[in-house]
Symmetry: C2
Subunit: 221 residues, 2 copies
DNA sequence: TTCGAATGATGACACTGTCAACTTCGAGAT
DNA sequence: ATCTCGAAGTTGACAGTGTCATCATTCGAA
């Protein structure tokens, strides 16, 4: 956010319409975070293609090349935004989990958890288009962390599936790769509805399709 | 330029390494298709980001702006490549279908068809990375046809699900949106393995994960 | 044969990521 | 309190992109 607004945090206007924070001191103080903030905002509306380094720098009120003191490249900046987006997704999913009221039956609870997570996944994608697309953006293979799937969204899904297993709903011989299947279903639905051919689907049908997809996964498990 | 060089269609080399077809006549004759060909080749290796208008024109041996006699914009060119990619995907799926030998049981046959289609979908994605990513590429909302999901890949999937229904495997009360669920599963798996966090998954596990995903869909249906 | 309309070519503009060289400033050693 | 040096920001440039306005060529019909 507006982290270190020391003295006069005035907001100016540049030709392009990009808001500029004029800083008083030559050094910014927390440029890295400020750039990620700006870039994240760009990503929120407009997706990964909209996060352009020079524009982010412009928003912060700093020269474009100043960014290179904090990021190795444009891809590096995007990677940072990516992390944030994944975190936002996970947070949103966790929130949905918390709203769940336990029934008596642990088998039903486990099922409900997986269902809620899947639903939250798709809902996040549909209401946070830019962030979701950035979260799963991939262009240059640079950086981007060793592509472990440790993003917490997967962990949540995996934990829910594990819950299914320990509740006895999911038999051991079908245990393997079930998280992946569940993940694939909700992720695929998100992508198809966001950028894919399903993006023309009306709102009403969307929810029905989501329900059916979750149902297929639950039943197929 | 040295376009006034000589006669007939020799193949030269430009500094960048881009092969150039020098044509003899001022007019190309079939520039639109030639450009789509070149662009498709760019897409095959490198994905949608690699299909750059100027480069395609360079390959064909034509000025960059000449493309604007045949395409409204860069996005328009990509849309053309997109169509081709979707067609290639469908063709690949149909080929897999043709290899299927009918058992006596129509219920088993129907199931096998859906399974084969799903497997073909993911296999195409993994072995034709660039084309697949281009097929589902989406940036500017320009053109790109009215986003009906009439791409034949979907139709094939839908037909297979319909086969399940008419074979009695899929009860009517679960009929709705089942194609979407199946599509979502295989598409999601493809995307996750291609660009997503699953791209680090070793080959062996990949096939297992695909099998499990298909199994979940079949069983959940 | 003539001539208008397609089709290509040139040159330019704005924009991007990125690099090299320069400037400013903050903090630690003296 | 001052000096100094490296970190942080700036300026200017370059190559590359999509795209437009304008000019040149050629094909096909009148």
């Amino acid at each position: 956010m507006d982290s270190t607004d020391k003295v006069d945090g005035q907001v100016g206007q540049v030709e392009g319409g990009a808001p500029v924070r004029r800083r008083d001191s030559y050094h910014h103080g927390d440029l890295r975070n400020a750039l990620i903030d700006a870039a994240t905002e760009l990503a929120r509306k407009g997706g990964p293609e909209a996060v352009v380094l020079r524009e982010a720098a412009r928003h912060v009120g700093v020269s474009a090349t100043a960014a290179y003191r904090h990021f190795a490249s444009h891809a590096d900046l995007i990677a940072a935004v990516k992390e944030r987006s994944l975190a936002a997704l996970a947070t949103s999913m966790r929130a949905e989990l918390a709203e769940l009221e336990p029934t008596g039956d642990p088998r039903v609870d486990a099922t409900n958890r997986l269902s809620a997570l899947g639903r939250a996944y798709v809902h996040f994608a549909l209401s946070n288009t830019g962030l979701f697309r950035t979260a799963f953006f991939h262009r240059e293979v640079i950086k981007d962390k060793p592509p472990q799937r440790t993003d917490t969204a997967y962990e949540l899904l995996a934990a829910a599936v594990e819950g299914l297993a320990s509740a006895g709903v999911l038999p051991p011989e079908r245990r393997a790769h079930t998280e992946t299947a569940a993940w694939a279903a909700v992720h695929g639905l998100s992508v198809l509805m966001l950028d894919g051919p399903l993006r023309a689907m009306p709102e009403s049908e969307r929810e029905a399709a989501l329900n059916r997809t979750v149902q297929v996964v639950i039943q197929g498990v």
